[in-house]
Symmetry: C2
Subunit: 199 residues, 2 copies
């Protein structure tokens, strides 16, 4: 199980360092206004040093940052259905309170990417739709089991849940003292016949 040695290992570590630096720099000033040079400065190497590790330049850096986060986050919900899935949303919210930089990064990039010319435009639009569909599906499963309050439409409930989640995140970033996880749990409970278990 020994990892790569010598030059290879050094390269992998550099890549990781660069990725982390890119993440914090993008989070602070967004994609367009950030520079490879500044990322390099954070790492402590030259601009060309960074480009050596990411041949595709700045867009490649962005893509790598996004992929890294997705890989870490997606399995938190995979395989969960109905009420379990909804409970997973609460868990994710709770975890985000410790990742301010990452949340900020996503918020800023998502806003920038509204422009169709932005390199991450496609990424965000499909990602958002995928999430909305997954939440809709979860509500549908809850409804089939008789756990959804009467008169509620799964799709509408999903969009409102998403809106509340994103909105609370926004307020939290703005510096308001909101209990994201608690508020989302309350909001979900308002849709269900039986409340979710609290963690």
């Amino acid at each position: 199980m020994a990892g790569p040695r010598g030059e290879y290992r050094k390269s992998a570590e550099r890549r990781a360092q660069i990725l982390e630096a890119a993440s914090t720099v993008f989070a602070r000033t967004g994609y367009s206004a950030s520079s490879v040079n500044e990322i390099a400065r954070v790492v402590g190497i030259s601009q060309t040093g960074v480009l050596h590790h990411f041949a595709g330049g700045k867009p490649a850096l962005l893509q790598a940052v996004l992929e890294q986060r997705d890989a870490r986050a997606e399995d938190r919900l995979s395989g969960r259905h109905g009420r379990e899935f909804l409970a997973g949303l609460v868990a994710i919210s709770r975890a985000q309170a410790d990742q301010r930089g990452l949340v900020q990064l996503y918020r800023l990039l998502a806003a920038e990417a509204t422009d169709p010319a932005h390199p991450a435009h496609e990424y965000f639009s499909t990602r958002f739709r995928r999430i909305a569909d997954a939440v809709t599906q979860a509500y549908r499963e809850v409804a089939d089991a008789g756990g959804l309050r009467p008169g509620l439409d799964p799709r509408t409930a999903a969009l409102r849940t998403l809106a509340m989640t994103e909105g609370l995140e926004l307020l939290w970033l703005q510096g308001f003292e909101v209990d994201m996880a608690g508020d989302i749990a309350d909001f979900l409970d308002a849709h269900l016949t039986d409340p979710l278990a609290r963690g």
Copy 2:
């Protein structure tokens, strides 16, 4: 009631043109990534021509754009209290559906301005807090009149209302077909003993 003539009038018109161009350019690419040059190109004059009218440079342009919008929006709520104020929130949401560019501008700037070094940082943080306080006050007035459902705290209700408003705006910008005004009205009604009048 005749306006200014001759040179003065020409100047005022130019300023208005520049402001409008700045608004659309900022909305498309954000503040940091926009250039005075591009704004000038949209207007059809040179870069120095723009700077002639806005001595403070790019930051002055940004400030002017923000002030212009506030001036137009604030009186929509001034003098209204309690239920009337809440109904005003719904009206504002309805109006925003026709102002995609402006909404986009605010969303992007607010995200950028999370950075304390951003020229609009202070503006957004005080603005957001002012809105939150105003909504809290409105809920308090409703509560005093016995119109708030029992067990609800005005401040918490206000923050959740704000979160829902912002979140719906976000989803709408992302391309989802959401009825912002209708959903907000529903959300408000869930807090009140009597539903608001629908427009």
